[in-house]
């Protein structure tokens, strides 16, 4: 060790501290370091002598019993200042920001949680066949309606339901229902005008309640409701999950695009096949004819690729994209055929589907759709 390295140890030695052996050896051998040690000791002696002079002046006498004793109130403590490391202050600031943004998120979620949906199940006589509607029931005038039509063998059942008001778990419903015997195959145009002449019945319902409404010519329709905290992917099939099960082929709100041009917009309806091995979509548009999209290969069809809610294929020199609002099938491939001369009026047996001037789509088995007369 050299003199510079042992300097700190000389000071420590002066204070009676233990120092490393090699430092002690160097100090013992080095004249300069020993002189430094002596000077440090002399400085200490001088300082103590100086202090002795100071202490000659005695401290003032104080009667501590006379000193007021004050109890610090909490409010006083709150007004005092304190020192806080900059790092701790920074962490505190970040924590405050994080917590406050968390509160905003919680509030936003709480606000979102106020959106409620009412699932109504109607059981139609005589078989008790269930029909399900989901509508918004949180006071909003948007999406608080549900219409459906049931084509029975013997007649047509029309149902229009709206949420008039709700208080707590109780919802007040306005229901228009009508049964038209012998009109099972009648054309139905799902507009408000369809229900215009049907008187509205008011029904109050709570989750778990089973209510009945009397429909002339049909009998008592059972109604049961429950609340959902979310809107299901398909409002008429609340049990349907976003992912298709292995046997499903689902078309929901289809849009067909050809070379970046929309040629068919199928609206918001849906058609689902839950088990046919040859499930096939028939999509008709005026002036376009029909497109058949099947899960199996068939004569004249070209292969298309499936990715979630999209099907892409090349046909007749054009690039096509079929978009749907839900994943279609677990299959990765489909087969597509275009029949430009197809007219529903020549093939569809049901009157409501046998129109050449409107878009129509449905999912059925390929065998059924290839028949001359399509019954479904």
């Amino acid at each position: 060790m050299n003199c510079e390295q042992v300097g700190e140890y000389i000071s420590a030695l002066c204070d009676g501290e233990r120092i490393p052996r090699d430092a002690a050896e160097h100090i013992g051998e080095c004249e300069t370091c020993r002189e430094q040690l002596n000077e440090y000791a002399a400085i200490g002696s001088e300082l103590r002598r100086l202090a002795s002079l100071d202490e000659a002046v005695s401290v003032a006498q104080v009667d501590w019993k006379l000193e007021p004793v004050s109890e610090t109130g909490w409010w006083q403590k709150g007004l005092t200042t304190m020192r806080i490391p900059k790092l701790a202050f920074g962490v505190m600031l970040i924590a405050i920001i994080a917590l406050s943004s968390g509160l905003v998120m919680v509030r936003a979620r709480a606000g979102a949680a106020t959106a409620r949906f009412l699932e109504l199940e109607y059981k139609l006589p005589p078989t008790g066949t269930p029909h399900i509607c989901v509508m918004r029931a949180d006071g909003s005038q948007k999406d608080n309606l549900c219409n459906f039509a049931s084509h029975g063998r013997e007649g047509l059942f029309l149902m229009n339901t709206r949420v008039i008001a709700n208080s707590g778990n109780r919802a007040q419903l306005g229901i228009r229902a009508k049964y038209i015997p012998g009109a099972g195959e009648a054309e139905v145009n799902y507009t408000e005008a369809l229900f215009k002449d049907i008187p509205e019945k008011v029904l109050s319902i709570e989750p778990g309640d089973k209510q009945e409404i009397q429909v002339a010519g049909l009998g008592a329709v059972e109604v049961e409701g429950k609340y959902l905290d979310h809107i299901p992917p398909l409002v008429y099939l609340p049990q349907e999950t976003l992912d298709p099960n292995p046997k499903e082929f689902r078309i929901v709100a289809p849009v067909l695009v050809r070379d970046n041009e929309v040629i068919v917009n199928g609206g918001v309806g849906s058609s689902i096949d839950s088990g046919s091995p040859d499930a096939t979509l028939m999509l008709y548009a005026p002036g376009e004819g029909r497109y058949l999209v099947s899960v199996i290969p068939f004569d004249g069809a070209v292969e298309g690729k499936v990715h979630l809610g999209q099907i892409t294929f090349s046909l007749e020199g054009h690039e096509y994209l079929l978009l749907t609002s839900m994943p279609i099938t677990i299959s990765e491939h489909v087969w597509v055929k275009h029949e430009a001369s197809f007219k529903p009026s020549e093939h569809m047996t049901r009157q409501s589907d046998a129109r050449d001037d409107q878009v129509m789509f449905l999912v059925r088995s390929l065998r059924k759709l290839e028949q001359e007369k399509i019954e479904h």
Binding site: G7, E8, I10, S11, A12, C14, D15, E17, Q36, E39, Y40, I43, G44, E46, L47, R48, R49, L50, A51, L53, D54, E55, V57, S58, V59, A60, V62, D63, W64, K65, E67, P68, V69, S70, T72
Partner: protein, 174 residues
């Protein structure tokens, strides 16, 4: 000297004799230390009184597990001295004059040299050499690690030695 914890407990119970005992034991030492730190007899006396009075009024903050009552007392005195200097900022002009007065009073070469060190170096040397505070106590008073006490003491001694030899000057008061 009574055990620190017992003495402190008595102060907390408003036993004036306990504070008197503390004052008798450390009052003069603290006042001498503060006189070096403040360069003023009167200010040192005032700050000493304030330090004890403050302890008497609000007996909290001392933890026997963290150090001795003496180091707590000198630490409190040092903080009050720092506060005193902050309040004196507008009067810094007069500071030099006071220093000169102090020098005249001490009539000591080492006192002059000491006055040219930084406030922390003065405190360190005084508390170590005069008060005999241990490294642990110095660390508690100055709120620095024990290892730093050793290196800073060395730096203070070297600075003082050089001034004494007329080789250099300290950085000035902090």
């Amino acid at each position: 000297m009574t055990d620190d914890r017992e003495l402190w407990d008595r102060i907390c119970r408003r036993d004036a004799t306990a504070l008197e005992e503390l004052y008798r034991t450390y009052g003069a030492g603290l006042q001498a230390f503060l006189r070096r730190a403040l360069n003023s007899h009167q200010a040192a006396e005032d700050v000493t009184q304030e330090t004890f009075a403050s302890i008497w009024r609000h007996p909290n903050g001392f933890d026997p597990a963290r150090g001795t009552l003496r180091s707590y007392l000198f630490g409190a005195g040092r903080k009050r001295a720092a506060e005193w200097w902050r309040q004196q900022k507008p009067q810094r002009e007069a500071e030099a004059e006071k220093t000169e007065e102090c020098k005249a009073e001490t009539r000591s070469l080492v006192g002059d040299a000491l006055a040219r060190l930084t406030a922390e170096q003065q405190s360190l040397l005084w508390l170590r050499e005069v008060e005999g505070q241990s490294y642990t106590e110095l660390a508690a008073i100055l709120e620095i690690p024990v290892g730093t006490v050793r290196s800073r003491l060395f730096a203070a001694r070297e600075a003082l030695r050089k001034i004494w030899h007329g080789e250099g000057n300290a950085e000035g008061k902090v």
